[in-house]
């Protein structure tokens, strides 16, 4: 029961309080690049959620069963990034086969999940807490999945706002990306309200 409670706490923390985009600045490229309409934002969010959960599981195993026993922790960056690259390749093949429409609308941003810092970020965060008190496999998975959920929520909120912003009368120099950043700033202020929750 205690384990379950702490898992829930990690989930809430990573979805709302320490939201990866709005609090930790991870994964900003797709956040600004793919959030122009809700459909592709949702697709991107789902893909990232899947990759993050898988990454958390696989990198946990790699770190604990290969890198740590052999004392080659210094290879951690190379090992993790190669893992992520292969996982993204897998997701790309799955999406291409099952949802060609989504595949087209995501375009270049699908292979770019590899260079989404949120994915490598969650793997490194999982590892970092491993040094203190070891983060269990379940906690790593929950942290990865929760980070993906938080990412999707932020993407969806942003895309909804940006769809309306296209009709609004924004000063010419702030159109598109700058106004998106200012909107993100206001959203981040709103999300600061969650910081008292834990």
């Amino acid at each position: 029961m205690f384990e379950l409670a702490s898992l829930f706490k990690i989930f809430i923390a990573v979805v709302l309080v320490n939201n990866f985009i709005l609090f930790r600045f991870l994964g900003l490229c797709p956040y600004i690049g793919v959030s122009r309409d809700t459909e592709s934002a949702l697709g991107m969010g789902m893909a990232v959620m899947f990759v993050m959960t898988m990454t958390s599981a696989v990198t946990w195993a790699i770190y604990n069963f290969i890198l740590a026993p052999l004392n080659i922790e210094y290879l951690v960056i190379i090992a993790f990034i190669l893992t992520i690259a292969s996982l993204v390749q897998l997701v790309e093949m799955i999406v291409q086969k099952t949802a060609p429409g989504l595949y087209d609308s995501l375009g270049i941003y699908l292979p770019l999940i590899t260079t989404n810092c949120a994915v490598l970020g969650v793997a490194m965060l999982n590892k970092d807490t491993l040094f203190g008190e070891s983060l269990s496999f379940a906690k790593c998975i929950v942290q990865g999945f929760g980070a993906g959920v938080g990412f999707t929520i932020a993407m969806l909120l942003m895309s909804g706002i940006r769809e309306r912003l296209q009709l609004a009368d924004v000063p010419a120099c702030l159109k598109d990306i700058p106004i998106a950043f200012i909107t993100a700033g206001l959203m981040a202020i709103a999300f600061l309200g969650f910081s008292g929750m834990l």
């Binding site: 600045f25 960056i77 490194m124 950043f181």
Partner: protein
């Protein structure tokens, strides 16, 4: 050669014009010191990886005479990433060894230089097609542009959010800093307005040109 160098600094400034490398730009610009540390670390990796990748691709092209190179083409991205990741590991150790405080402040974002889009972007768009000298100049220009962008963000945020510049108090003791500029929302607001300003200036310049 001169244009190769200067294009990265203003016209194709990686942060404000190309919108690349946004995550480290926002996360590490809480103070000028961190901003410069991050900018220079990224520049170092960019220079090393640009030169190495240019060397690898030119050698492969010369040795294979086309046939072998076209096979390599499919695995070029993993190849670039391994090169970049090795240099990032080195920079990580150097920072940990010689600048432990800075290394702790930058934290997660040192290993994350691997996934900085500027570096992979320059490898793919420039270094894999040009010789080593051009790649070096391109890397220095782009790296300086990135560092300059970080410096600008860091200056605004540290002045408004802490009333300091480089850790030195600017406005005296009675100044009440707006702490929000050091927190996450301030970063988004600052970059939004600076980007708007850059675009405004560019638009004015284009109008003058006509």
């Amino acid at each position: 050669m001169k244009t190769q160098f200067f294009k990265g600094i203003i016209q194709e400034n990686p942060i404000f014009s190309l919108c690349l490398g946004l995550c480290p730009a926002l996360a590490t610009s809480t103070s000028v010191k961190n901003a410069i540390g991050m900018g220079l670390s990224t520049t170092a990796v960019l220079i090393a990886s640009n030169m190495t990748i240019s060397l690898i691709t030119t050698t492969l092209r010369a040795v294979s005479g086309g046939m072998f190179y076209s096979k390599i083409q499919n695995i070029r991205i993993p190849l670039y990433i391994v090169v970049i990741a090795s240099f990032v590991t080195m920079v990580d150790f150097i920072l940990k060894g010689f600048f432990p405080v800075l290394s702790k402040e930058l934290g997660l974002f040192v290993p994350l230089i691997v996934v900085n889009c500027i570096i992979l972007g320059r490898a793919e768009a420039f270094a894999s097609k040009r010789n080593i000298v051009f790649s070096l100049i391109d890397a220095i220009g782009m790296g300086l542009g990135f560092t300059l962008g970080l410096f600008l963000l860091g200056t605004v945020r540290e002045l408004l959010g802490a009333g300091q510049f480089f850790g030195l108090s600017v406005f005296g003791k009675n100044f009440k800093p707006a702490i929000i500029f050091i927190l996450a929302p301030g970063a988004f607001l600052t970059i939004g307005f600076i980007m708007g300003f850059f675009r405004h200036v560019n638009a004015l310049r284009a109008k003058k040109g006509n």
